[in-house]
Amino acid sequence: MIDQLEETIRIEGGQVLATLIRLTGDIDRAEDALHDAAVAAVEEWRRHGVPDRPGAWLTTVARNKALDRLRREVQRAPREREAVRLLDDDMGSGGHGDGDDRLRLLFTCCHPALNPEAQIALALRTICSMSTVEIARVFLVPDATIGQRITRAKSKIAGAHIPYRVPDAHELPERLLPVLATMYAIFTAGHHAPTGAVDARVDLADEGIRLGRVLVEMMPDESECTGLLALMLAANARRAARVDGAGDIVLLADQDRSRWDATAIEEAQALVESVLRRGRPGTYQIQAAIACLHGIARTAADTDWPQITELYRLLEMRTPTFVVRVNHAVAVAESVGPAIALMMLDGLIGTPAERWHLYWAARADFYRRLGDPNAASAAYLRGLDCPCNDSDRRFLQRRVHEMSHRAP
């Protein structure tokens, strides 16, 4: 029963919270109400069983709890009175809120008056119900830093009255970039969960794609928006083949490509082609093009690595981050060779890239292919010192084990 409650909050918490934020007009108040409802659920569900629609149950109970609290505070200010009015109005509908609540919340979290780093953290906290520990893993920073960013952002939203709404059509383009970055972060947290099994939060990948579709419909002319949807679709198409029966990671080259979602890849491919024709390439379109090149390769050997390498070169010119550099080097290892790829990573020595386990995994792989299992093993071990999810950890451990059996 407790498991079911946790599962409900994990999967549906973002939706419930988004609805509550719309109704109460305040993130803290919404979180308190959801907490009250969860406490009530422990008792209720034990006695009467888990309701048919646990998410809707939580929303209704949380709404009542919020109303109780607000009625006690109502003398205070017009804001509270407004919230009571909204909650009362909403009671009749009996609905579970709609997807638009999460969209509204996404725009609030990405308001330009908030610090860009806080925007994504707040979205992951509220829309995705991720803990500060999980979010800290995403940013490779200490937990306390994330806690502070979220607290500051929430108090600014409340103190400065940052509205909870989807901007008007003419405002959308200038609001778009942080929204895309946040949506991609939501998708990535689902595609590659920061803690637990790699596929522990596939619901977030679905949510990222759902939000992506809504935004593309709102802004069909924004090429980067369509590019991001294509990127998410193409990456997500490999979901079923990424993990084996034992829950272990299967590398791209070893995946059973018949298990890829061909329809999703086709859709992504069509979207990429349509936006690239517009001649305004951007980072999401480039990444989508890369993901599609992987998607259309019938076998690993068929992969067009020279083309992928060229796309990574273009991507790195636009966004010279260490993540792009590592991926670029991986492509170079395939199209040119591991020695030059290893040299490309030497520039990252002593940088924050050393906190990223996949940087070490890439280095280790290049050493392995250069016939240096000792150096490879050392690099895999450095990777194990970095924060990563359980699936990646097992993968790195397996590789360390393999290297020790190969060493001379």
Binding site: R76, A77, P78, H111, A160, H161, I162, P163
Partner: protein, 123 residues
């Protein structure tokens, strides 16, 4: 309705301003005052004399009754000085930002938008 202070910062003129340029800026401010005034947004607004006229007052000892120290000039010497302000009554930050972007100080310098603390209607 939330109230916001729109604090107008800009470089202070080092010499007597060109009358024609000054006239243009004044016309811009008059236009803003009329537009925002007609929308019922402006709660108050003042333009300040230059920081050369400012006096900073500090009472020593961290409590009332200490020595009064007066110093010539503003508290903080910065390139951009507070030149004036409006109090804007807006429904949310988006509306406040939209109005602040129409204050001439936003293109001649910059405008800081700060929510005013609401101590409650009954308080």
């Amino acid at each position: 309705m939330p109230r916001y202070a729109a604090l107008i910062y800009g470089a202070e003129p080092t010499s007597e301003p060109d009358p024609q340029e000054w006239g243009i800026v004044m016309a811009e401010y008059i236009h803003f005052g009329e537009t925002a005034g007609a929308a019922g947004v402006i709660g108050a607004g003042e333009a300040l004399q230059p920081t050369t006229t400012a006096t900073t007052v500090h009472v020593t000892g961290g409590a009332k009754g200490g020595d009064v120290i007066t110093t010539d000039g503003p508290f903080a010497e910065t390139k951009e000085a507070l030149g004036g302000f409006y109090l804007l009554d807006c429904k949310d930050l988006d509306e406040a930002i939209a109005w602040a972007a129409q204050i001439p100080g936003a293109w001649h310098g910059r405008v800081e938008v700060r929510p005013v603390i609401d101590f409650g209607e009954n308080g």
